[in-house]
Symmetry: C2
Subunit: 206 residues, 2 copies
Amino acid sequence: MTSEKGLLIVLSGPSGVGKGTVRKAIFDHPDTDFKYSISMTTRQMREGEVDGIDYFFKTREEFELLIDQDKFIEYAEYVGNYYGTPVEYVEQTMADGHDVFLEIEVEGAKQVREKFPDALFIFLAPPNLTQLEERLVNRGTDSPDIIRHRIDEAKRELKLMNLYDYVVVNDDVDAARQRVQCIVEASHMRRARVESKLRMLLEVNN
Amino acid sequence: MTSEKGLLIVLSGPSGVGKGTVRKAIFDHPDTDFKYSISMTTRQMREGEVDGIDYFFKTREEFELLIDQDKFIEYAEYVGNYYGTPVEYVEQTMADGHDVFLEIEVEGAKQVREKFPDALFIFLAPPNLTQLEERLVNRGTDSPDIIRHRIDEAKRELKLMNLYDYVVVNDDVDAARQRVQCIVEASHMRRARVESKLRMLLEVNN
């Protein structure tokens, strides 16, 4: 078990769909034994967020220096801010045999797909666009123009669904949390994964 | 949802691994909403078994007539008795949008793989594969002869495994039951299955 590489789990989906809330529910749950890769961002900290827990908050200058140094497995500029996943933590944690969980924007997920084709890609989908719109309105922090922009963007992002392995509809946070955990559990039982682990053991020790 | 075809779920594995016990646990559980396809056999009824519930019990003559009429999606002769899955129930139930569950021998599973490549194939593995893994990792608890014997057995079982999508270790009946249900739940969330339905919803509601 210790010699087996962990899974890379990517949760993504349109802005406003509730990725952060589902991610929090997952990591608050006692059954969760995978590691969360904290993203880096240049966006403003929102109320209740903590630096180094929700995100690593950086200035544009700091972020762009890290881009130049090739320190991200993915990054994207989204509504005027950078978001990225630092490479080092992800690779080290997987090599140690732990599953790593990324909650990232769809543009970033595309980049991860190219670099880690075997990762587990989960698309978090809104039950419908109306509900997405309600969530965006109720958040109360955005102007109608920004909301309109996010909806147009969400439609575009839904077209990206075809890069994903699974689609979890976020009609209820706890149900979505349980679905993601079930997908991860099932992925650990995929024959190719079980088989190669056993083969490896049988050959190493034989 | 109603117009969507059900999944075909195939649970198989080596003789004696506990397929029937896991199948019973699955169908005794309130969360199970798939249909069990009752197999047909020519073997003797065992104590506690009921005709039309555990199996349809038939004579060799009756069974062979059905073979001639091409009424099975799979059948095999095993330790002197026929076992088979009648085609009609399976196809009708899937067409009605229900998942159908087969618990069959490995030879039969091979035939189903050819006819239903999209079915969900789950290999129920004996716990000695896990125990073997533990022993190989920990070493020093068994004699070289016992380890050698277990390795040979594991290699034989690994060869049976390679037609399957998933491997569930039957170290505990209720845990195995829960793993099978999780695999089925995850399969319903596979992107290809969800995508078309969701796209339709988004267009209707916008």
